[in-house]
């Protein structure tokens, strides 16, 4: 099973490579990828350097081009595909059908993975994308139960990657517009959810308020910790109750499900977090490397070690973790 790790910067890439990643994924410094945050991502020279570092250790480099161009900026995405091909990366991770079509047409030998943002949840959808655009792998949205993942893997003509760890999108990726409803900018159009320039924190007598694009996302008492204010993790009033109407701040952690994921034929597990620090990448990659190796040696007796869970717990959003949709009761 391939361990695919996030590289938001060259130091993070180094950390992933040294900690045992089989592949890293990164993006260009623009809206062509879904982590378009200030200070993140790679210039061409940095990708060259990253490729050298990765290749020296036999690690693959994937470029995420997983947002949705519109007519006015189409040329930028097309150019990004050309750049990725010229750099000689191992695959591009694409969401948009038009970009897939362009890449398949212009660079047929450049491997194409379907991004989680492509929002394909069934083997029928994957068969279509394989037949028309030659995708080789797909990252599944974090909405399927384990039984449904098994069904997709069993019938998909392409190999399947799933998310293993990191911040959890509770909404179907690639089709969530909450961010643009409040700010005008969404992951699809701008490569960022709840962009930092729209966040306002304010101390008030009633507590610390967090606003996104002027909309009050949460109000907390002094001492309550606050995660990054994505709209889906705010507290709202429904009827007479004020609560996390959509999702508590929490992270996905499927470490304990590794034996099942391996047995059902998932080829790769992805770690979320290109926006996180090199230390996060190092710790999470190290932990998952050990876990995957232990599981591959003896799946029957695999159990996550307490120190692994402690390490992952420390870097989890809201300091708690969930299996997410893989575990039916969460739904």
């Amino acid at each position: 099973m391939e361990l695919v790790c996030p590289a938001g910067s060259l130091p993070a890439l180094k950390a992933a490579v040294e900690a045992g990643a089989n592949a890293v994924y990164l993006g260009f410094r623009d809206a062509t990828n879904a982590r378009h945050f200030p200070g993140l991502n790679f210039t061409d020279a940095q990708i060259d350097e990253g490729l050298r570092l990765a290749r020296a250790r036999g690690v693959k480099v994937y470029v995420a081009l997983n947002t949705y161009p519109q007519p006015h900026n189409w040329a930028q995405w097309a150019a990004a595909v050309d750049r990725a091909a010229a750099l000689g990366v191992d695959a591009i991770i694409v969401a948009d059908l038009g970009v897939l079509d362009y890449a398949a047409d212009r660079h047929p030998d450049l491997p194409r993975h379907l991004s989680v943002q492509g929002s394909a949840t069934t083997c029928e959808a994957l068969a279509f994308l394989h037949a028309r655009f030659g995708i080789r792998r797909a990252v599944l949205p974090r909405v399927l139960s384990l039984a449904q993942v098994r069904q997709v893997v069993a019938h998909s003509p392409v190999s399947i990657e799933v998310f293993g760890f990191g911040s959890l999108c509770v909404m179907v990726e690639g089709r969530c517009l909450l961010s643009s409803y409040a700010t005008g900018k969404s992951p699809n159009t701008c490569g960022a959810c709840s962009p930092a320039e729209f966040v306002r924190w304010e101390e008030t007598p009633a507590g610390r308020t967090t606003r996104l694009g002027g909309v009050l996302i949460d109000r907390r008492a002094a001492g309550e910790t606050a995660g990054y204010p994505t709209l889906c993790k705010g507290r709202y009033r429904v009827g007479d109750s004020t609560y996390y109407a959509i999702e508590e701040p929490t992270s996905l952690n499927t470490l304990a499900l590794l034996p099942e994921l391996m047995a059902l034929g998932v080829v790769a597990v992805k770690i979320e977090g290109r926006q996180r620090s090199p230390a996060y990448v190092r710790d999470v990659t190290t932990t998952w490397r050990r876990a995957i190796d232990a599981c591959a040696r003896d799946a029957a007796h695999f159990a996550p070690r307490p120190e692994w869970l402690a390490t992952l717990g420390k870097v989890s959003e809201g300091a708690q973790t969930t299996f997410g949709a893989l575990h039916r009761p969460w739904q």
């Binding site: 006015h72 079509d101 279509f128 399927l144 159009t189």
Partner: protein, 300 residues
């Protein structure tokens, strides 16, 4: 199909959960109203089974007999085998045009039957549009977060025989999840939800902690609280080449909304502010169309 002249009016699929009797009453009224196109079927939650497939077809036949074009709509999030089975039945119906709301439906229809892409299929650029046109796309509904500029460019890039439809009225479909937020609001698991959506014919309102209406919880779907309206932008919508205007049903006064659009297209006096406000008690928005945050209210 026409690509000139005034746009036609479409009734979108009912997004909330209404009992069978309410659906029948609603479509009986639609049959007598000025809408040209009617989208039928469940698009949000497969557990909602107010009507069976053959009962939907019965309503479809009645609407066709009254001169309406009928399109069968499909689920926006397809996961379980049972959902895929129902989807195949709709896609293979052989008689009615189908609205694909996810890539599974696109896959089942591509190269086999003409189809419409709904607002949750990401048609963001001309290359996607033209690629899908080769697969049988007849009409695309603009994803709701896209602006008038993007619609204009996409409409101009439509191959012959492909139309553009815009979300002209209704709460906006903003997100889908594996999780059911209505069940969550009642501390119920999704698998044992007691069909609480039936209690909320216009969804369950989520306000911010300072009381601003913000979102509508509709089972696994999250909608806007505000009603998106292009009623005040019709000249622009028409100038950009919209072929179809979608009105998303609400539990009350949908027929008044449809009539207001028909009147406006016929050049008759538009509704005044108070009349409009009564149709959208939580307020109007049209920001997406103007390239602004979706929640932004129309210019006064």
């Amino acid at each position: 199909m026409s690509t000139t002249g005034a746009p036609r009016l479409a009734i979108g699929p009912v997004l909330t959960y209404w009992p069978a009797e309410q659906l029948r009453t609603f479509y009986a009224s639609v049959a007598d109203g000025p809408a040209d196109i009617v989208y039928l079927g469940e698009t949000v939650c497969a557990k909602r089974r107010a009507l069976r497939f053959d009962e939907w077809v019965e309503i479809a036949e009645h609407l066709v007999a009254r001169g309406k074009e009928v399109v069968l709509s499909t689920l926006a999030l397809v996961e379980a085998e049972s959902e895929r089975k129902t989807l195949r039945q709709i896609c293979e119906n052989g008689r009615f045009l189908v609205e694909a709301n996810d890539l599974t439906a696109v896959a089942l229809l591509a190269g086999r039957a003409p189809f419409v892409t709904g607002p949750t299929v990401n048609v963001y650029n001309a290359r996607t549009l033209q690629r899908l046109a080769k697969e049988g796309l007849r009409r695309f509904v603009l994803p709701v977060e896209l602006s008038r500029e993007t619609f204009g460019a996409l409409r101009a890039a439509c191959p012959d025989g492909v139309e553009g439809e815009v979300w002209a009225w209704g709460r906006l479909p903003l997100a889908l999840s594996a999780r059911c937020f209505t069940a969550r609001a009642h501390n119920l698991p999704k698998d044992d939800c007691a069909f609480r959506c039936l209690d909320y014919p216009d969804g369950l309102l989520a306000r911010t902690q300072e009381g601003q209406p913000f979102l509508t919880l509709n089972g696994i779907q999250t909608q806007s609280a505000q009603t998106h309206s292009l009623l005040g932008d019709l000249d622009d919508v028409i100038a950009l080449g919209a072929d179809v205007l979608r009105i998303s049903p609400q539990s009350r006064q949908t027929e008044v909304v449809v009539q207001a659009f028909a009147d406006a297209l016929a050049g008759r006096t538009p509704l005044d502010g108070p009349a409009l406000a009564r149709l959208a008690p939580l307020g109007l928005c049209d920001g997406y169309w103007r390239g602004a945050p979706g929640i932004a209210a129309p210019a006064a």
